[in-house]
């Protein structure tokens, strides 16, 4: 008797309509909450629309205005880069450092929880808390400096210091989250590799550079790219903490487009601004991803 061989068929044909039925909730969700709003936003960017009335088609005029005539838009783009780069350049190494420090510390779970706490706090509450700490005249820091005869910086009223302040608060807010990702990556490194490196005479610095960092590179890539994307699109902290001031010094593009849409009622122009920001973030994230992947090879 010839042994029976299992019939091989293409996967989707087996299920017929069943996989689509199970996927349907997800597909409907994605269509309604991602594709539809994105498509609507793209369409809006070619219109002039104040939501009290009907949209009117203006072609590329909103893009033309933002890219060629709106100096404020370009100033906000520069502010966005300063904020995002500051956040990534200081925030990512700091989170890595914290993860290293706590990976060998006693009670590391408690330390990790403490550093993660800001993530559980409402961002508006965080903004008000830091306003209280950083207020130029009555803030805790400047009062403390004043008590020892020092004049503290104008944290919130000097344009440069205001940007420094929002970047530092953003780092404080986000450090715990990135630290957890790095901690998980560090915990995943096989101890035997460290033992082997020690046997080969590698010191602490050499082990970090040649063993630990290459192994946790995927986590590093992930944290860097997601932090960059977060930094480029984040504005709620700035809205609550400085309102984009002083004199527009902390007004980032996401905040500018938010105001354009909901305060100035210029939905078309705001959509165009949001799409330009989306394109910038997409292109830079792609470049960043490729650069980090190249280096890991």
């Amino acid at each position: 008797m010839r042994p029976r061989t299992p019939r091989v068929v293409d996967g989707p044909a087996v299920g017929g309509w069943a996989p689509w039925l199970f996927l349907a909730p997800l597909l409907v969700f994605a269509f309604v909450f991602f594709l539809l709003p994105l498509g609507f936003s793209v369409w809006l960017s070619f219109t002039r629309w104040n939501p009290l009335g009907a949209p009117s088609w203006v072609g590329l005029r909103q893009f033309e205005y933002l890219l060629t005539r709106d100096d404020t838009f370009w100033r906000t783009v520069v502010n966005t880069f300063v904020f995002a780069f500051g956040f990534v350049a200081i925030g990512v190494p700091l989170a890595l450092l914290l993860a290293f420090a706590f990976s060998r510390a006693r009670g590391k779970a408690i330390w990790r929880q403490i550093y993660y706490l800001p993530q559980l706090t409402n961002i508006v509450a965080i903004a008000y808390l830091w306003q209280f700490v950083l207020d130029d005249r009555d803030g805790l820091i400047n009062r403390a400096l004043g008590a020892i005869g020092l004049r503290g910086p104008d944290w919130l009223t000097d344009p440069t210091m205001a940007m420094v302040s929002v970047v530092l608060v953003m780092i404080w807010y986000d450090a715990g989250k990135n630290m957890l990702i790095f901690s998980a990556a560090l915990d995943g490194v096989d101890r035997a590799i460290y033992d082997a490196a020690t046997l080969d005479g590698a010191g602490a610095w050499r082990t970090l550079r040649s063993v630990t960092l290459p192994i946790i590179r995927p986590a590093f890539t992930f944290v860097t790219i997601t932090s960059f994307i977060t930094g480029m699109g984040f504005f709620s902290l700035i809205l609550a903490m400085t309102g984009g001031g002083p004199r527009g010094a902390t007004e980032v593009t996401a905040l500018y487009t938010y105001r354009m849409a909901f305060e100035d009622l210029r939905m078309g122009r705001a959509s165009a601004g949001a799409l330009i920001l989306f394109a910038i973030i997409g292109a830079l994230s792609l470049l960043q991803f490729r650069a980090l992947r190249e280096r890991s090879r």
């Binding site: 939501p51 207020d135 005869g149 004049r151 009223t157 105001r259």
Partner: protein, 417 residues
């Protein structure tokens, strides 16, 4: 019952039927930014209201979200019947057909019962669009305890006197930071803390920010430059800076500010028993022809309401004086310490307190000029505030900054006029 209403709503949406039509038998909705507690006298009137089977209910929408809520409500076909609109939103709402033009009787009531400047605040292109409710005006508010300590028994009568008194009042700590400020501007997210005093000074110079038809801005003229320079020299004199906030006046560390009347309750709470003695309101010392700014909220009816006539009847009912005292709205505003420009209400409420009296006098004497009802007012005033802040901080000169601002504002005006 709830399920039935939900089902009716869903069916109505599915069939494209306006929800207002479904709610035809429901109560009329009055949407305002006051909390239930603040609006208690008005709520009592709404609860008691019943006219030809029509009743009324209150909907609270926070001030910051008011316009957005109106927008999304209309998009979803769920707009209230009656709004309480900030006058600077009105031009856009009228331009887009959101508001219903009131019946002649309501327009007549407004023209006859309210002071002229307040009627202007609710008038767009010659048409009155609602009944004024809360009115705010700006005056000079002085902390007399600080002024007396500095050797002055009365608030300043001239701008030079204001500078002199403020200089004397100002005290700095060892690090050079202002501890007691002679004067302060308010740090408000809308920019009103700079823009509203600027309007008051500009009006006092005899100018207006726009041409009558709003096709041109008058921000590059000598009057605007003089007004802004007056503000900038206060910072230049070292008697205030941008870290000092007029909203801290109730704490007692600020000598003077140009402020609206609605801060009274907070100032009163801050000063406690010494309020009557230590807080004095006086005219903005900008010459014999001084003027100030007023802005108003007004009750208007949504053009989508299926019971516009009944809604206007309710608006009239809420704002008409009652036999035993002021109107429902007047009673509520009086309880809040807010102003009304309803002359019948003001007469019914008797003598105002010493803090409120100068504000009321400014309204009644025609000193208070309304905030311009221009399209994109919030956007324009945001731009003005940023420019003024740059000049006050010493980052720009008043003349060139105003010239540039004038061009930017005219770009916006060109879109609409």
């Amino acid at each position: 019952m709830l399920h039935q209403r939900m089902a009716a709503l869903a069916c109505g949406l599915a069939l494209g039927t306006p929800v207002a039509a479904i709610a035809q038998d429901g109560p009329l909705t009055v949407a305002m930014h006051y909390t239930q507690e603040q609006a208690a006298p008005l709520l009592a009137c709404l609860d008691a209201y019943e006219a030809d089977g029509v009743t009324a209910e209150y909907q609270q929408i926070s001030y910051r979200d008011y316009l957005q809520t109106v927008l999304t409500g209309r998009l979803g076909g769920q707009s209230p019947d009656i709004y309480n609109v900030y006058s600077i939103w009105a031009a856009q709402m009228v331009d887009n057909g959101v508001l219903d033009a009131p019946p002649v009787a309501v327009s007549k009531l407004v023209s006859e019962t309210y002071s002229a400047g307040t009627v202007d605040a609710v008038t767009i292109d010659g048409t009155v669009w609602g009944v004024p409710t809360e009115v705010s005006a700006y005056m000079l508010v002085s902390n007399m305890a600080l002024l007396r300590e500095a050797g002055y028994d009365a608030p300043p009568a001239t701008w030079e006197e204001l500078r002199e008194i403020a200089r004397t009042v100002t005290a700095r700590n060892e690090q050079g930071r202002i501890e007691t400020a002679g004067f302060a501007f308010a740090d408000s997210s809308s920019g009103a803390g700079f823009v509203h005093p600027f309007y008051a000074l500009l009006y006092s110079e005899g100018a207006r920010p726009y041409s009558d038809d709003f096709s041109e801005a008058n921000l590059d003229g000598p009057e605007a430059e003089a007004a802004l320079e007056r503000m900038a020299e206060l910072v230049g004199d070292g008697i205030t800076d941008l870290s000092v906030d007029a909203y801290d006046f109730p704490a007692g560390g600020i000598g003077m500010m140009i402020m609206a009347n609605w801060l009274e309750s907070e100032i009163r709470a801050g000063f406690g028993d010494s309020f009557e003695e230590d807080v004095v309101v006086s005219p903005i010392p900008a010459g014999a022809d001084w003027r100030t700014l007023q802005y108003a909220f007004f009750m208007g009816v949504d053009s989508n309401s299926d019971r516009k006539e009944a809604a206007w009847d309710l608006v009239r009912h809420l704002n008409a004086p009652r036999e035993d005292g002021p109107s429902c709205m007047g009673e509520m505003l009086s309880g809040l310490g807010a102003l009304t420009a309803n002359t019948a209400d003001n007469a019914a409420m008797g003598e105002p307190d010493a803090f409120t009296a100068p504000y009321l006098a400014a309204l009644e004497e025609g000193r208070a000029v309304s905030q311009p009802n221009v399209m994109q007012a919030a956007e324009i005033e945001g731009m003005m505030a940023q420019t003024f802040e740059r000049v006050l901080a010493g980052d720009a000169e008043a003349g060139p900054a105003l010239e540039s601002l004038d061009g930017e504002v005219e770009d916006i005006l060109f879109e609409f006029y």
